[in-house]
Assembly symmetry: C2
Homo-oligomer: 345 residues x 2
């Protein structure tokens, strides 16, 4: 008679406690809690009353185990966060939450071992996975990803084509920016590069070079200075460019943070933007419109990127195996402001 459990300190109330208290079987409680239509009206009311009075909440792990559904998606991030990730997660969370899902996030260095460990730790805890890893180039450990486990790649180098993937139109965005500079008459256009080994950075550089080449502007190695996406790197890069024998007339930074760092260096050096040097960034972070002069940038709807990625994963979860991998590229738009020398109005 309940003695089996009553002698121990139960800190949580289980379905059996409710069943006992309501004088029904656990099956009935389960039905009452989940699908109202399977139980008689009067019983339903009583059981539900008892359940809430006792503060009963179904145990997630137990439920996952038997239903083979966790209603959770895993989100694997690189080690370094930033405004970008914050926005992506927001888009993901908003989308999956509407479908009744949660996000299990985890960051890790994405070398093979750490990545595999992270994947392993998610087995039985998530129904699918979003992997965001702009620096990862190897192949995903297929063994750990058992069977046809749903995975969507976000902003990853396209090395593994077996999975759905989404990314930003880095190449197109960079191309449009440089093309815009060229249209304004610039020929000596510098680029502050993103982190080495980073997929976004590589694509933006490729777009920069292609635009120059297509306009028959020769590439100049000294105009491609290294950076790492931080304000400080932009600041340093701009100083390097200012010491060149022949200065550039325009600078394209691989992201807005570096553009703002560069802006600060130029201002300190007394160089007028955009009169002496035009400036453009990438990402169009909220701050871009509030610096002086307002920063021309390539707009990326980061939150939408997250939302679309999540939607793609949810689709994989619901549908039968379905189509082969889908590669999706989120378009960008050039936002022209004062820093590039155009009047915006």
């Amino acid at each position: 008679m309940g003695a089996r459990t009553s002698h121990r300190l139960r800190t949580t109330v289980t379905i059996r406690d409710v069943a006992r208290a309501a004088g029904v079987s656990v099956a009935t409680v389960s039905r009452a809690v989940n699908s109202s239509h399977l139980v008689a009206g009067e019983t339903l009311a009583r059981v539900r009353g008892v359940a809430t009075r006792m503060g009963y909440v179904p145990h997630g792990a137990a439920r996952s185990l038997v239903m083979r559904r966790t209603h959770t998606i895993g989100v694997l991030l690189p080690d370094l966060y930033g405004e970008f990730f914050s926005e992506v997660i927001r888009g993901i969370d908003l989308t999956v939450r509407k479908a009744g899902y949660h996000c299990l996030v985890s960051s890790a260095q994405h070398d093979g071992a750490q990545l595999e460990a992270a994947l392993a730790s998610m087995r039985g805890r998530v129904d699918g996975l979003i992997l965001m890893s702009p620096e990862f180039t190897g192949d995903l450990p297929r063994r750990t990803l058992q069977g046809d486990f749903p995975v969507v790649l976000l902003n990853c180098p396209p090395t593994d084509l077996a999975f759905d993937s989404l990314s930003v139109a880095n190449y197109d965005g960079a191309y449009a920016m440089v093309r815009h500079f060229i249209g304004l008459g610039h020929r000596r256009i510098a680029m502050i590069r993103g982190a080495v080994g980073n997929f976004d950075a590589a694509e933006r550089l490729r777009g920069y070079r292609a635009a120059l080449r297509d306009a028959e502007v020769p590439l100049a190695p000294e105009l491609e200075v290294p950076g790492d996406f931080s304000e400080g790197a932009g600041d340093a890069a701009a100083r390097v460019l200012l010491h060149l024998a022949v200065r550039p007339t325009a600078i394209f930074a691989a992201n807005d943070a570096m553009a703002i760092g560069a802006l600060s260096a130029l201002r300190e050096a007394g160089v007028l933007v955009p009169e002496e040097i035009a400036l453009g960034g990438f990402d169009d972070i909220p701050m871009a419109r509030y610096v002086a002069p307002a920063l021309t940038s390539v707009h990326v709807d980061i939150s939408a990127l997250g939302a679309r990625t999540a939607a793609r994963l949810l689709a994989r979860l619901d549908r039968t195996p379905g189509h082969g991998p889908i590669r999706d590229i989120l378009p960008t738009t050039l936002v022209v402001r004062r820093s590039c020398g155009m009047q915006d109005s």
Copy 2:
């Protein structure tokens, strides 16, 4: 033999599959995978070999169920993200990851119903909870939080003193900033307020008023203009202040984003900062040092705040019930830059 399972499509390999393949019992596999010292060296090697070859990974839900430990902590955020949350989560994730934990994040409107639903959905999925809710004023639903479920409040209004809590020294930081202005000779100091109903905002306002009162500077209602922590609000608030019959000589914005918005408005109006109006913000976001003039601000180590919160929760998870609730306030530091009129060098 095994016909019971072999006829169905198994997409994942379980401990029984490994046991069968290795010719041992499931118990031995379990021991081999978890605690090496309980199994003979030769068996250990064989079983582990088979396990990795088959790509066996223990099922999280099953393990959680029997071990009564999920090794996951829940993080409940307000609906709106931002740089602040990104950093906090980073600090949390870094800390718990070292202890072998994951983060189950979820955002929600923190009215009673949604909050309760979010809490409920975490039952059996997390070992403890970090609740970040600067707008939440009600009491936590004690019923849903069964027993002595470990919860740490982060930046919440101190309405519920039954839980551990951490927050930023909003009052002290604001006080220091205003005190600094006063020390520079300012008497007419405006404040751009944070979002209504927000705990941080209220505390910063309180610090502002206290500093003025302590210096016997009379409060002027028209100098307290509303805001909501966004750049746009700062911009708008500054315009309001510029239209005052007697302009302030200093403006304290409740966060950096609004300060930068205000800066943009002042610049557009041709008002010199800091010569005509001094400016100060709060948070010391990375961007603060890169605007012109560089922004004086109250530095908050957000990532550390997250880390400390996580550490507190981990401590609760390991220790016996232990002490009563601990309230911890993370100190801030005033970072003086050009925007307030001091030479920084």
